[in-house]
Assembly symmetry: D2
């Protein structure tokens, strides 16, 4: 947790037990409770879970209330179920999709972004993957270039009550790795992801509920919470390359969430423009990137 002004359902139990019991679902702020209920129902309906009477769904959110009629509760249980059942390997959709459909970042259309890094064999050959749901403000910086000075979003700035490019919002960050980190080490890994946010230009504003959840795909538990034979956790001194990977992948995932987003028109004519790629390219060229 960087800034707990947010509603990451299930996070306290994950911290206590070091275990995820369900997939992670992302949605909008006022949709977390319905999504948690739907996720719990889906999990309890799995074969073998007939007598389970406790489950800890994990649901993150950011507030897309500028574009989305968030009080209308348009995300329904069947949407959650469909998302859970259509999950698949391969490329991840990015931009104005899923829980990123209505989010905004730095005054532009934000959304879902992803990125990953693979360590060299000498460093363990592990992969760190990051997925972000960007909905925050600050001073947009790409590869160190102060994009915010050059490209000013026209939309919301011109609309009364629109989100300020330099403030607010939130960011949900999910970090996955196949390194066999234990829960304490995963906390350390997750903490680094906020460095990626900082580099992308986040202002860490009061209203930005910024949560990171990090998990390992190679450390699994049975229903009693007993470890299923895993490699031992790596030495602490072997973590630094994983930390680097988490920082870089987070920064790049944030960039990708903007670069892949498309302009979205939402409730009451509110509009969030996609960042203009061509002009961005020129700017980066000018700064020798």
């Amino acid at each position: 947790v960087f800034n707990a002004f947010g509603k990451l359902v299930g996070s306290t139990q994950v911290n206590e037990l070091g275990q995820l019991e369900t997939p992670i679902v992302l949605t909008n702020t006022l949709g977390v409770w319905d999504a948690a209920r739907a996720l719990a129902d889906w999990e309890l309906a799995q074969p073998g879970n007939e007598n389970v009477r406790s489950i800890n769904p994990v649901v993150g959110e950011t507030n897309d209330g500028w574009l989305n009629d968030i009080r209308g509760h348009h995300v329904r249980a069947e949407d959650v179920r469909r998302a859970l059942e259509s999950g698949a390997g391969g490329a991840v959709e990015e931009g104005s999709v899923g829980a990123g459909t209505g989010t905004m970042a730095f005054g532009w259309k934000g959304g879902i972004g992803t990125s990953s890094r693979r360590l060299s064999a000498a460093e363990g050959g592990y992969t760190v993957g990051v997925l972000v749901q960007t909905n925050f403000g600050g001073h947009l910086t790409m590869a160190g270039v102060p994009v915010w000075k050059e490209l000013v979003p026209s939309g919301p700035a011109g609309m009364a009550g629109g989100p300020r490019p330099d403030r607010g919002g939130s960011c949900m960050i999910v970090v996955a790795t196949d390194a066999p980190l234990d829960a304490r080490q995963l906390r350390r890994l997750g903490a680094r992801a906020v460095f990626g946010m900082a580099r992308a230009g986040s202002s860490g504003g009061h209203g930005s509920g910024d949560f990171v959840i990090a998990f390992s795909t190679t450390r699994r538990f049975d229903a009693d919470g007993g470890p299923i034979a895993a490699q031992p956790a790596p030495a602490e001194s072997a973590l630094s390359p994983l930390f680097d990977a988490a920082i870089e992948a987070t920064e790049e995932a944030i960039d990708n969430s903007l670069l892949r987003a498309t302009t979205v028109r939402g409730r009451e004519g509110h509009t969030a423009e996609a960042i203009p790629i061509e002009r961005l390219r020129e700017i980066l060229r000018r700064y020798e990137r």
Copy 2:
């Protein structure tokens, strides 16, 4: 948080901001998400909140799945709404009521209990009130008397899969005071409540999700989170009498939750007996209490 194996919805934001935005609702484990949604809806429907697009409902729970058909989701939005609207001052119902209808403690029927202490005028004259939802195990101890050695619950022990008197369950504790404590001091106050659990005989088992939430009735905030003129927070050295009060009131509230509970027959013939008051009285007398 003593043991975060539980689902106190909204707790992370309360810790970050030090503010409650809604009443606190208690229910069963699988009902927290529906209750949170209902509580959020109710709050957003209050006059003046037409344009509010974020709210942090606080909902605690314990798992009453032995008596309650918890997978059936029988607590509905209208139940939450009715509870919110029928709230009133005066005596608090205790025992097998509300979120305590299906809970068990130490192998007996548990439930809702409450107690309070008032400090002397020299110590500030403040009141500390505690409400508990008891659903945990251990070795029942009243006023130091090892009741567990003398009175053995027959019900669940004799039923396959029933809750063990010495284990599991959870306890939700709400501590209210009119002392103008700030958020940091309220954390300190809440931490003491677990001493009351310990004295009542809780085993602090792995499965017992034990949460305390403490608030002050005299420290209020406006919609921006700005403080409404309050007395200054008391000196740290003045807190000890409040800590004593929280410990004593928590222990007594736990006792009351048992003493006021009535026998409840639940799903599939599962039964939880009320602790037999007359035999208890004899035992306490024998131990000179």
Copy 3:
């Protein structure tokens, strides 16, 4: 950490890395820094550590300033060194010894106490041992008997500025186990020890800096922080018996610290009396213990 009004040197790094780099030393409040320096020097002087330039000594304390001329800094580096080098297996000295020489608990002479529990083979056969340095107040309760009502310490109560039996002081608790718990599980184990304090009658006062440090003797690390082949950590659901053991052993260790303490006369004629064992025996008999 239950109440961090205290000076457990080295605790933050232990939490981050989950590793102890040195033995744990206990002393008085104003002696922690000299003891930490001495402990660090001793560790750095071990063969093989010639090029080590960082070390995290762990030193706990309680404030014995009523009996001890604490501002005089009478514990010196050579005392720490001697303690480190004379460490041995076997029975542990209790009472008015070492860091417990000047401490007081419940208005009586406190000190060092220890106790342990062994789990049944079915529960893993593990041992949990607890060592306490008692220097706190409250309402002394032994095996549930309200000793405080029957036996009132005459000493300090009668002396101006003496420690109140019901307040203040601190407690250091060290929990050791041969169960192969990881750092997160050790935190959970340590948290239970405060239940033992609560049962012994601690008031959890503002001024009581209460720290628990729990470690496993079967989970070891090499100099890089890499795990040395260990059994896997047990399932969470197997922890409850260990929790019970920690609670019981802590309560008993606190009792032992009082029962083994001897009357000590300190600076300026201040005296702390040992609890009168014979009268205590009568009281416990009367309450059928």
Copy 4:
């Protein structure tokens, strides 16, 4: 605490009570205990403190063992005392001074740096000042310019066992403000300072013990921990400009610690070069800064 692989003496009590009892002293890793003792002695020797028997000195550190003969304990009690007594208002010395004499950052000579921001009158007119002790690695970035690609430190890279420019080390950050923030808000403020580290290029390595301590100059306490009449704490929504200020000032203070550092030759011929200002200027010009 960002990464608690470090030894910030006194931090746990500051978190619990929300109060500093002494000035903050910075030194090297193996010198913290002597410095804490010296700081405690100095404070206890102040007029009026004759009967004080508890004090919580706060001492931070980074590890300068490459240049400094850290095992030699060359910082003595009289050095600490002199520093405490020569403290004065006005400009702050920066670079290779005090606790920054032997530190290195990004492969260059690091040290002490400072910077501040003042908010507009509309935002409260408050000042946020930051002081850093830089001793960490990563990829040096100034105003977004990837300096690390252009300027490679020759010194330590060429010496066996020298600190890697991209790793390790630590950073101590002290944030001071005249805004009347309470302890919870100061934690939030301090958390933002790590964004400044991230922007400067820190890799957040495993070995980097990164601590922030934030305090308010306008919220004072008497000896009992009672608040001395202060303005009320500001609304949470007013904190964002303070957060921005902390981020910017931290980044700039880190830059200043490098820009003001001078080349230092230490033990065994180890040398850390100051960053070459002229070449740096050219690079920044080339990137249009």
